[in-house]
Symmetry: C2
Amino acid sequence: MPSEFDLIQRYFLSDPRRDDVIEGIGDDGAVIRPPAGHDLVISVDTLIEGVHFPSGTQAASVGHKALAVNLSDLAAMGAEPAWATLSLALPQSDEAWLAGFSHGLRQLADRFYVSLIGGDLVRGPLAISIQVIGLLPHATAVCRHGARAGDFVFVTGSIGDAGLGLASMQGAWPLDGNGSVQYCLSRLNEPSPRVAAGVALRGLASAAIDVSDGLSADLKRMLAASGVGASIELTRIPLSAAARRLFGDSIDWDLVLTAGDDYELLFTVPATRADALCKRFDSLNLPITHIGYIEQQVGLRFMEDGVERTLELSAGYDHFAV
Amino acid sequence: MPSEFDLIQRYFLSDPRRDDVIEGIGDDGAVIRPPAGHDLVISVDTLIEGVHFPSGTQAASVGHKALAVNLSDLAAMGAEPAWATLSLALPQSDEAWLAGFSHGLRQLADRFYVSLIGGDLVRGPLAISIQVIGLLPHATAVCRHGARAGDFVFVTGSIGDAGLGLASMQGAWPLDGNGSVQYCLSRLNEPSPRVAAGVALRGLASAAIDVSDGLSADLKRMLAASGVGASIELTRIPLSAAARRLFGDSIDWDLVLTAGDDYELLFTVPATRADALCKRFDSLNLPITHIGYIEQQVGLRFMEDGVERTLELSAGYDHFAV
């Protein structure tokens, strides 16, 4: 049976790809040399089987998602990812699982030029904790506390796909014969972190957050941090063609607003800079949609054709709620 | 019952103490600004109950130790710690445990001027994953691959205390009436990372590693990374007064050499720089002991009064060994 050391060698050791990695995996610590004039952004997220991903999720998807959720956090700050470390707890030495996991992780890491510089591998219930470090020029971080009354609220891509994917896995959503469910499952299991979009926000957006716990919960966090409120026009919330097909005539707003896991960026921009921002996104091949406005009055209000609509939304997931 | 957010607020949120923390806990990521001319050293270690610390260990000790093992890794690279993140999985919201844990963690963090800048709190079997980032001037990292034939082998402090502490907890070691067992238990549960010693190694030591898995296993790692061998004089290995009292007339070399968890620094220094290094340590209030020599011939040899002694040592702990 291979040792912990063998497993690390086999699945996670690679020559550092980046010039700024002075020492990679294999010593007490890794040594990196950040470029001058840059701030560093740090994010850490733990995924536990049965909590953050359904038991039975393919190993490659778990590897992908564990890194993707962290890259999404960096994107929401406007940072480009550079280095990552991995803490992996495994119930047993399952080499087929490790091969799939490391493949999924590496594919995404390579796509964004991220070096895996360290970590550890211990025996325990399946849990993956990844920490990423990203870079941005001094004082260009986009924080969640900068939204101001009058700012436009935007969101990238489409919302609700991952929730539909999860509902279909749980049998709560009728499966269809075409690729709509497939598309929603790929959005759930292999989310695309919006790294280029995050970079495009620098210097223009007033605040940003990624949609991990649901549009409603994440927007509320931004509003609370900024001390403001917002009105969102429901009909402007971008749904994918797949979601529209699955919903048919009745959109499940609770699912769209609370399901989370879409890893889109939700951001605000002062009205005077909205045009400049839209121009930047023209070259990105990622749609952005203006869904509402920041207001002085605290609270989050949903509008439909200009009339406020009261929605009784499910509570977001809380690990320690009763 | 408090939410995850409440728990983080209550136990882990503090004003960033360091000027180089631009954004601390509370956004998608933390933002830090490393000083110019410095490299960063990154280390991550996961502690699982029942594997890395005995079930029933006091919460404050767990908090202390989870950070200490990471600071020890940084020390072994010559780095001063600066920032840390925490991933904590808890079976339930146990506020007494959290209060103790965060107290132990904070006390050590404050002692070394470390800011907790982020992390997450999830529900799961008790596991603590801490990542630390440290600083050192460009190109001054002390790696484990630099040992060369003729170098002196040194170790800080004393070896075997933590192993004696663990053995006494497991009932394998007779308890004594004086403070010897108490001392060994404190060495096991609240190790002191050798941060100042690590800084003293910069520019003088040729290689270093911390003694986490046992003097024998860790020295072998250094030898393998450096492509050399070593001879160690058993009688020179520094034992504490407590260990000498507990051992009495027969020293258990297997325990001393394989028990680990002492978090001392094991390092090598070229003969020409040994005096300069000893002078640096004079001011540190931490003894260092010259225990042997690096040799061309690969392998690790133990000597007693100049004669090689064959020891059948226990294997080091491997998470995935059968």
